[in-house]
């Protein structure tokens, strides 16, 4: 049994405590927006936020997550796709196949939260997710756009 707070909702889930958080999200919580790509914390497709920190959920046993910790998945990043990162992604039409994009968006959202105006080096260092379709340059541009709009709305 695991008690988890996912996208603001606390749930008790019947599951082997060794199960990676990724599979609990996908198979027990029914949140399939978080993707499986490698299972060894290499690709970032499974990135979620735990207390605001971008975390690769495929290599994290669910028992390592405390009940009070806030897990946020792509489904919970905003109500309706209105998060500045999602909006920037829409404006620049970033996704190709889209499979890596939930992880990219979650990693990017955590980055601009901790570093409101990320430099190119910050982006290169922090966004290590794999995209095989090759969206990297648009991801970079969208992160910058999101950072601008996020800081503009904070000032405004």
């Amino acid at each position: 049994m695991a008690r988890l707070t996912i996208n603001g909702e606390t749930r008790d889930i019947e599951v082997d405590p060794e199960t990676p958080l990724l599979w609990v999200l996908r198979e027990q919580a029914g949140l399939t927006g978080t993707k499986f790509g490698c299972g060894i914390a290499q690709c970032g497709a499974c990135t979620v936020h735990i207390d605001g920190v971008a975390t690769r959920s495929c290599a994290l046993p669910v028992s390592a997550v405390e009940p009070g910790q806030q897990i946020v998945t792509i489904e919970g990043l905003s109500e309706d796709g209105s998060h500045p990162v999602q909006q920037a992604w829409l404006a620049l039409d970033v996704p190709q196949c889209g499979y890596c994009q939930a992880g990219m968006i979650m990693a990017a959202a955590a980055l601009i939260n901790s570093t409101p105006s990320p430099s190119d080096d910050d982006i290169s260092a922090e966004i290590t997710n794999i995209c095989r379709c090759g969206t990297y340059n648009r991801v970079r541009a969208a992160i910058k756009l999101a950072a601008e709009t996020a800081s503009a709305s904070q000032k405004g």
């Binding site: 949140l31 499986f36 990043l77």
Partner: protein
């Protein structure tokens, strides 16, 4: 396992009214030539459905895997349909429906950069015919001649009376109209929707976690499976101890699949996979345990000098010219096995009963998936159905090779009536690919005193992708795909350099590692080999690489035009920045002309790619924004391959099992990419693949400019760039 036996009617135009709406299906003969007909219309696979609320559903037979074909094909239909683009949605027809309707949508195959270039004609005709029928319906309603009415933005207008009606209002009437026989298409210069950089139709769901991929599918009562095949190619299952895991949580069954694999079926995938990891399996590793990368390289090296080879292109007498007293330059290159590594691992979901088999699968070829379902289920093909899902990457892996479908069906047969979803682990995906084939290449070229290339022999030794797929290739040893980009003329991939004595030949050598179509296919290494060696010749001749190519490309103005475009944009004639060095490459492939210029620096043996300029001439461009994304993405795929891509073989199996050892390019290595789209009209080339081929050689030629080192054994990571 062929779909060619499905009946193809010579000329079929079907219309069918569906609940209050209009649906049009067209089929004009693919088999026209075979039947000696003079009909030149290609088969039509578009399907337009208009709901009373004016929503336009455009059916797309090709698969969306990130390349944007869904949006591009819809633009072509919508352009001729004259509909309101904001009301357009798309859906996939099913391969089973296609079969029942005499392959009304034509080919479902999505590969070879063919999505648009091979269906633009019939999908546009589908849109145009639908428009004409809607106009006829309105004209009937108003009792006026159809030619007094016009359509725009989903509204039909009778000019003289000022009456208007929307498409939705006349859709069911239009469905009764006779199919027009005279279908005129707009010239591309009149396009308003096609040819424009419209946003993709499938973006929004991908931003909020709503896009359902194959791995995400959930059906009521569904079970989940993880599978492991013998990691050694050609090996089999000897034994396994199911009792060791049968008590583990959620486990339903341990199932041997064919001779080669064992799967665990459980309530959840994680339970299935955990049990599979705990399952003791003994393999009969078979005949290939002594195969290594080195034994394969040795096998190919022998082919470099073999007497026996299949000639691809021959002009003049290259052998004689090389045996003369000219100055001969030689070089030998090699290119390794590579995995597709799509981000979404292979998967399929199947439900089997004794009279029906259904499969849900991300596939590049729905008809191949259907044939695989029929074969594995033992049912008639008419009893099977395939529902396509968007692909989390395809790159060639999900076309001809449908083993995951066969496996899923065999697992589903163990649980009649219950859907079973099979997901491969990344390790399974890496160990059981359809790998980019391995080749080596030896050049011998003669230069005269003026730096002219008087003879050129390119010998390719290595693996054939078609060999396992086609009997005639096994009989003749001739695989035409080997010579991509090296043809003597033609519209697919003409060799651009004019050399009086030219010989390009292939010694087929097939190691026991399964080869496959891999984005860019053989154009990738052919371009790398040729463009790096041309650079070597330019250097030997003491001539600037651009100037050297200009001389040789004089007869091929389109090849030259893209090269000139990148040279100009990168500033070839001007000095580069401090420590920056440049390289060039060009090729024709998949019907398009492409070139790239790279700017790199090498500091303490570390390569940094700063900037890429790419030019492409695909004839026509349906969506420039998507074309740009394909070109940019090509550099990620192509440079990943050039810098890191390598599956090494040891003990008859692939050594790299996941992204920790199979490196791919990430954000920090991604150069700036400037794309020049220069469609010159009058032909239709592909966009998704050709540019990959120039990524590697442009960078390697720049590396030579920076270091004086020629990288001839790929990938780059195995070479030292230091002093």
């Amino acid at each position: 396992m062929t779909v060619a036996t499905l009946s193809r009617r010579k000329f079929l135009i079907g219309t069918a009214a569906t609940a209050g709406g209009l649906s049009l299906g067209f089929h004009v003969p693919f088999a026209a030539q075979a039947e000696g007909s003079s009909a030149v219309l290609p088969e039509i696979n578009a399907w337009v459905l208009i709901r009373p609320d004016d929503t336009v559903v455009i059916r797309i037979a090709r698969s969306e895997m990130g390349q944007g074909t869904l949006t591009g094909l819809a633009q072509l239909v919508a352009e001729e349909l004259e509909c309101d683009w904001s009301k357009v949605t798309t859906e996939y027809p099913t391969p089973g429906d296609s079969l029942r309707r005499n392959r009304i949508w034509g080919s479902f195959s999505t590969g070879g950069s063919r999505g648009i270039r091979e269906s633009h004609q019939y999908v546009r005709e589908g849109g145009a015919a639908a428009r004409q029928m809607l106009i006829s319906a309105a004209a009937d309603l108003w009792e006026v001649p159809a030619d007094e009415c016009s359509a725009a933005n989903s509204v039909i207008t009778h000019a003289s009376s000022g009456r208007t009606v929307t498409y939705g209002a006349v859709a069911s009437l239009a469905a009764q109209m006779p199919m027009p026989t005279n279908i005129a298409l707009k010239a591309p210069r009149e396009w308003k929707i096609a040819g424009k950089p419209l946003p993709r139709l499938d973006t929004r769901d991908k931003l909020i976690g709503k896009q359902i991929y194959g791995v995400d599918l959930t059906l009521p009562g569904m079970l989940n499976a993880s599978i492991r095949a013998c990691p050694v190619f050609g090996g089999k299952v000897a034994s396994f101890d199911a009792t060791a895991v049968s008590g583990m949580p959620g486990v339903r069954k341990v199932v041997q699949v064919d001779d080669t694999a064992v799967a665990v079926v459980a309530d959840t995938w994680w339970q299935a996979h955990s049990a599979l990891n705990a399952l003791p399996i003994v393999w009969d590793e078979g005949p290939n345990t002594n195969v290594t990368s080195e034994t394969i390289a040795e096998m190919l090296r022998e082919g470099l000098d073999a007497e026996d080879a299949v000639v691809g292109t021959a002009i003049g007498n290259a052998r004689a010219a090389l045996d003369g007293d000219a100055r001969v330059v030689t070089a030998t290159y090699s290119f390794p096995y590579q995995a597709h590594a799509t981000m979404e691992p292979m998967n399929a979901t199947a439900r089997y009963t004794t009279d029906k088999c259904e499969v849900w699968v991300p596939t590049q070829n729905g008809e191949m998936s259907l044939a695989a379902a029929a074969e594995a289920s033992g049912l008639q093909i008419e009893q099977c159905e395939v529902y396509k899902l968007h692909l989390g990457g395809g790159f060639g892996r999900r076309g001809n090779y449908q083993e995951y479908v066969r496996q899923a069906v065999k697992l589903a047969k163990e649980f009649p009536g219950t859907p079973v979803k099979l997901i491969w682990s990344r390790e399974e995906d890496m160990l059981h690919g359809a790998y980019h084939p391995v080749t080596q290449c030896r050049f011998r070229a003669a230069l005269d005193a003026g730096g002219n290339v008087t003879a050129f022999h390119m010998r390719i030794s290595g693996q054939s992708i078609l060999w396992p797929l086609r009997a005639e290739v096994r009989e003749t040893g001739r695989d035409p795909v080997v010579f991509q980009g090296l043809s003597d003329g033609g519209t697919e991939g003409a060799f651009g350099y004019t050399i009086p004595n030219l010989l390009i030949d292939h010694a087929m050598r097939n190691p026991p590692v399964p080869p496959g179509f891999w984005r860019g296919v053989n154009l990738n290494q052919n371009a790398l080999y040729v463009e790096c060696f041309i650079d070597e010749l330019a250097h030997e001749a003491g001539i600037d690489p651009l100037e050297f190519r200009r001389k040789l490309l004089g007869d091929h103005s389109k090849h030259l035009a893209v090269l000139e475009a990148v040279a100009e944009r990168v500033g070839w004639e001007k000095p580069a920045g401090d420590g920056i060095h440049r390289g060039l490459a060009q090729i024709m492939g998949f019907g398009s002309y492409v070139a790239a210029a790279a700017e790199v620096s090498v500091t303490d043996g570390q390569l940094k790619i700063h900037r890429i300029v790419a030019a492409t001439d695909p004839g026509h461009i349906v969506n420039p924004a998507q074309a740009e994304r394909q070109v940019e993405g090509s550099f990620v795929y192509g440079l990943s391959a050039c810098l890191y891509g390598e599956c090494t073989i040891n003990g008859g199996r692939v050594e790299q099992e996941n992204f920790d050892t199979y490196e791919v390019m990430r954000m920090d290595q991604m150069p700036a990419v400037e794309t020049i789209l220069m469609p010159s009209g009058n032909f239709w080339g592909g966009v998704g693949e050709p540019t990959i081929a120039v990524a590697g050689p442009a960078v390697l030629n720049a590396v030579f400019a920076a270091t004086g080192k020629r990288i001839r054994q790929l990938p780059v990571k195995n070479n030292s760039l230091g002093a």
